[in-house]
């Protein structure tokens, strides 16, 4: 496997047997549902699957929660924090699983982190270089759902919008609703920008879950078949 930059030199040559598959998309785009069903499907096909996500490492996640609570934490500080959290998962979970031949299904990867930073005005090149230690995934899917559809999905689940998912730290709108729509538009535009560069496959997430599911399954299974031939 390749890295985006200088990688993790101290690990030496990585003997990786598994596959890394990433599903990106905003909250309420259906990521978790898709990952759950994909996991079942792939395991039924005989592949062992490990799930990972952002902000799940034991090491850093509490620290990120505290840092967000602490007023005045800078955006670059948070982005470094998230990078540390990601690195912890990459090295302690993703890479060991890949070495043992697992399929790693990642519920978001570095792209969400980079998009959040870019819309907040951080230098894209710096963010890209920051993640020079990240493995290049085998497949990256980006679930696309328009902000106006997204907002209804969130409201179906709960009656409020998440402060950060609504970009409330950015002063984008008069109220949370308009801020959410504007923020999600910016994020979507950023993902569009990244598509070609990182080889993301856009997937229309506005369809019924079953339709999205079968598209993802077909693409993943045919990729896996092609790899074994």
């Amino acid at each position: 496997m390749r890295f985006y930059g200088h990688g993790l030199p101290y690990l030496g040559e990585l003997d990786v047997k598994g596959r890394l598959i990433v599903i990106e998309g905003p909250d309420a785009s259906g990521r978790s549902t898709q990952i759950a069903t994909l996991t079942e499907k792939l395991e039924a096909e005989g592949h062992a699957v490990v799930n990972t996500g952002l902000k799940r490492s034991e090491l850093v996640s509490q620290g990120i929660i505290n840092a967000k609570r602490s007023l005045g934490t800078g955006k670059r500080t948070l982005s470094l924090f998230y990078a540390a959290d990601f690195a912890d998962q990459l090295e302690n979970k993703i890479i060991p699983a890949l070495r043992s031949g697992y399929i790693v299904l990642a519920d978001r990867y570095i792209y969400t982190l980079m998009a959040r930073d870019a819309v907040r005005g951080m230098d894209r090149k710096w963010c890209h270089d920051l993640f020079g230690f990240a493995l290049v995934p085998d497949l990256i899917f980006s679930l696309e759902v328009s902000p106006s559809e997204l907002v209804h999905r969130v409201f179906q689940r709960q009656n409020t919008l998440d402060f950060y998912e609504a970009g409330m730290d950015m002063g984008l709108g008069e109220d949370m609703y308009s801020s959410f729509i504007r923020y999600q538009r910016l994020i979507a535009a950023e993902f569009k920008r990244m598509q070609a560069r990182y080889g993301m496959i856009p997937v229309n997430g506005e369809r019924m879950p079953l339709a999205v599911e079968s598209e993802l399954q077909d693409r993943i299974l045919s990729f896996l078949v092609a790899q074994t031939q």
Binding site: L59, V60, G63, N66, F81, A84, A87, E91, F133
Partner: protein
């Protein structure tokens, strides 16, 4: 609502002085004496230490206890700590005209993280936002001298502090010694490329401080230098 006229930073921005060197090189003592001198002279001073931000400290120590830190997470947590202090304190204080004294700066990361195996270019890029200090003092001491100073003070070394994660030796003291000598090599390589001002850390404390103060006074306006010399007089403190 108006934002007012654009903010112009004073020409005489603050000054940034960093001290570097391995543990036991005496840099913290020297930076303390420098701080006292500047304060005594009526300057506004802020001192900041490596790995001291409240937001990050707890996480780093938790990771250390659990022993799950990798060179990259270690490096990123230190960068997070640095940036937190940089954004909250260092940069705003510099804009406000303060003398900022940094007990260790990005160079510590360049040295330690490289020894731990991170790619040097990646580390440099990580810290590329950090302003270059006006002076970087490097306190140079033979590794054995520094190690003996450290060990005589408090003989219980910690796992990461001793570089035990690098598998240099099963003996924690031996590991520490090798780790420190590798860091020294990294520092030595930076002396020229990063323009360190080298201070011989085996000189008497007073003599080192005299050298430091004389170099620092080069950053002051004539009036301030005069005031500092009259008040706390470098000359009068010079051993004859």
């Amino acid at each position: 609502m108006t934002e007012g006229p654009p903010i112009k930073y004073a020409k005489a921005d603050g000054r940034l002085i960093a001290v570097e060197g391995i543990d036991g090189s005496g840099k913290s003592t020297q930076v303390r004496l420098l701080e006292q001198w500047l304060r005594h002279g009526g300057l506004r001073v802020f001192k900041t230490e490596w790995n001291s931000s409240d937001v990050v400290k707890e996480i780093t120590s938790k990771g250390k206890k659990k022993g799950t830190l990798t060179p990259t997470t270690f490096s990123l947590l230190h960068a997070t700590d640095f940036d937190d202090r940089y954004e909250r304190n260092i940069l705003p204080l510099l804009h406000a005209g303060y003398w900022v004294l940094a007990d260790r700066y990005a160079y510590t990361a360049y040295a330690r993280d490289a020894v731990r195996g991170c790619h040097p270019e990646w580390i440099r890029r990580l810290y590329s936002f950090a302003r270059k200090p006006d002076i970087v003092f490097y306190f140079e001491v033979p590794v054995d001298v520094a190690v003996n100073r450290m060990l005589s003070g408090r003989p219980n070394l910690k796992y990461y502090e001793a570089g035990m994660d690098l598998n240099l030796s099963n003996d924690i003291f031996e590991s520490y010694r090798i780790f420190q000598s590798r860091i020294t090599k990294e520092y030595e390589a930076m002396v020229k490329s990063d323009g360190f001002v080298v201070i011989d850390g085996s000189l008497p404390i007073e003599e080192q401080q005299r050298l430091v103060r004389s170099k620092v006074s080069g950053l002051m306006s004539k009036e301030v230098v005069h005031k500092m010399m009259v008040g706390t007089g470098i000359e009068s403190r010079t051993p004859s």
